[in-house]
């Protein structure tokens, strides 16, 4: 235990995701040794982020304006919506440069243990966007874990009766890797989802 404020700093840092007690201590001492100017800048950035950053009115992505840069971009196709759990999933998909449509960021996945039900996610907003018929395909890209799958099932039921193509991202082997390094669950899933070779 350190004295008062130093320990408080370590505790606060330790509450951040992915930071354990040891890392928190290292960061705290780094901050103590850093020039005051840099620390002030960091503090300002933290404050500004909380003040300025908000969620896009349309898709729920993070932005500093009413609409995020993807929803503002006229080159994006309004016919396809890709549904993801978090804003960081948007970044991941954008890195592929394969997807030219728009997004819907749900803000999590259905998980009763965490107290998250469908009403806590931006599902109603998604349904409103689908109402005018512009959208022809919804791609469900929730995480391939239990809660993500449950959310995907819930969404596909909601969308079933609409005149839409509903697709789900495939799951299986990572590309460019070796088969031998795949874990049993992934490889087992890839076996289940195997496809007929087309000639």
């Amino acid at each position: 235990m350190y004295d008062g404020i130093v320990q408080e700093l370590i505790d606060e840092l330790g509450r951040l995701p992915g930071i354990g007690p040891k890392s928190a201590q290292r960061i705290a001492f780094h901050i103590l040794q850093t020039e005051t100017f840099d620390v002030t800048h960091l503090a300002e950035v933290l404050m500004t982020v909380k003040e300025k950053v908000r969620f896009c009115d349309v898709c729920g992505n993070v932005t500093e304006q009413e609409l995020c840069n993807i929803c503002r971009d006229p080159r994006r196709s309004a016919a396809t919506i890709c549904v993801v759990e978090e804003a960081k999933d948007v970044v991941a998909i954008e890195r592929t440069r394969e997807f030219k449509g728009l997004y819907q960021v749900l803000g999590g996945a259905i998980s009763p243990i965490d107290g998250i039900g469908p009403d806590d996610l931006r599902i109603r907003q998604l349904m409103q966007r689908l109402a005018d018929g512009t959208v022809t395909e919804v791609i469900i890209a929730t995480d391939p874990n239990l809660e993500g799958e449950a959310t995907a099932t819930y969404l596909s039921r909601m969308l079933m009766h609409l005149d839409l193509r509903v697709t789900r991202l495939a799951s299986g082997l990572p590309v460019g890797g070796d088969l031998e390094y795949a874990d049993e669950v992934t490889l087992g899933r890839a076996f289940e989802g195997r496809r007929l070779v087309e000639n």
Binding site: K22, I110, S111, P112, I113, G115, G117, P118, L146, E147, E149, A150, T153, Y154, R157, E184, V185, L187, G188
Partner: protein, 387 residues
């Protein structure tokens, strides 16, 4: 597969221990509380990443130490493997194979063992959860993919129970509970896979158990296994009692149909009680001798024979399918529980495994055939051996 050498550092009561082992029988002898079981516990940890005595790893670290190290030299035919695991008090455990780091959860691939312990008696006399764990552990050893299914299933049950609880608290009616259907889908899908896998395993275990029971008890008491499945029971009781016993393989498809029907039938009481009332988490493996349930009817000796038969049967199945030789058998304080004739028969039944490790407080309890390499233990040190 055999263990040729075991080294321990700061494990339980051992500061350090160097134990050379031979193929065939190895006997650890010492008074109570000297550290015999700790030796087999350490090896069992290498193959299962768990202990039969505690559920938390740090209980295995010597008091005052920060980390325990288990290191075993393994030999499978010509192949030599050095398997190592470091159990840390305050950080993640680390594992190495031949001095290169591997994921800790991959460690059991390199070493398989079957441990017989006094706690096994709860397989016969204890709660259904112990028998489910026995089946599930064997399933995962044979088909690692199922560890994902089991973990997901358990999580679905917890999610679903939380949902039922919050529905009860807020007074929501069943038909307004839109997301319950979603969890039902996952529950049925994963649960049916588990039901099929368990029932297939039970049919495979049956002939092995019959043979092993006869081998240990000396006579055939018709030791039989059956699944008691909550999805086939009409009642709302806390276990699957009353359900018809099944001895055949139940396909996932058949299970799914019955599972759905029982969920519909029990929806009201599930909402009332806010728990998931049917599924593999409430099933039981029913053990019978001469047509009567072993739990409640079997004598002490019969119960022991049955427990040993289950373990022997699983060892035989693992041996048959293994591509790395026999699993190492470990008999922890088992002989003290058996009469003279059962001791001799158990010794004969395990004799053809590549390696057997035995612990006993009293040397005379162990049949002479198994005392070839005897290691004496006192106060957490190896005081000598008589090969």
């Amino acid at each position: 597969m055999i263990v040729t050498h075991l080294s321990l550092t700061d494990f339980r009561n051992y500061t350090t221990a160097e134990v050379p082992l031979v193929a065939g029988a190895n006997l650890f002898v010492g008074s109570n509380g000297q550290g015999k079981t700790n030796l087999v516990e350490s090896l069992a940890y290498l193959s299962t990443l768990g202990s039969h005595r505690v559920s938390v790893d740090h209980a295995m670290i010597r008091q005052g130490a920060e980390a325990a190290i288990i290191r075993a030299r393994l030999e499978n035919g010509e192949r030599q493997i050095l398997a190592e695991v470091q159990i840390n008090r305050s950080s993640a455990n680390r594992a190495q194979i031949n001095r290169s780091v591997i994921k800790t959860r991959d460690l059991p691939r390199y070493f398989s063992s079957v441990l017989f312990a006094p706690e096994d008696l709860t397989l016969i006399r204890g709660e259904p959860s112990g028998r489910r764990r026995f089946l599930d552990e064997l399933l995962v050893l044979r088909s690692p993919r199922l560890s994902g299914v089991i973990a997901d299933y358990d999580r679905v049950v917890r999610q679903r129970n939380t949902l039922l609880k919050s529905a009860r608290a807020s007074g929501v009616k069943g038909n307004q509970l839109g997301t319950l259907d979603i969890w039902d889908d996952r529950l049925v899908d994963l649960g049916s896979q588990l039901i099929e896998a368990r029932s297939a395993l039970i049919t495979e275990l049956q002939p092995e158990v019959t043979a092993a029971y006869t081998a240990v008890a000396g006579e055939d008491h018709h030791a039989t296994l059956a699944s008691q499945l909550s999805i086939f029971s009409g009642s709302e009781s806390d276990d699957a009692g009353g359900a018809a016993l099944r001895r055949d393989i139940i396909t996932a498809r058949e299970a799914a149909v019955a599972f759905r029907e029982s969920l519909v039938r029990l929806r009201r009481s599930e909402l009332d009680r806010a728990i998931t009332l049917v599924g593999p988490h409430r099933d039981d493996l029913v053990l019978e001798l001469n047509g009567l349930p072993a739990r409640g009817y079997a004598s002490h000796g019969e119960s022991w024979s049955f427990a040993l038969a289950l373990k022997l049967a699983s060892a035989n199945i693992l041996r048959r399918e293994s591509n790395m030789g026999d699993p190492v058998l470990m008999l922890d304080d088992v002989f003290a529980e058996l009469d003279e004739s059962r001791r001799l028969r158990l010794a004969a039944a395990v004799a053809d495994f590549e390696q057997v490790l035995i612990t006993a407080a009293v040397l005379d309890d162990v049949p002479a055939a198994l005392t070839g390499n005897t290691v004496h233990i006192a106060h957490g040190t190896i005081v000598g051996s008589t090969p």
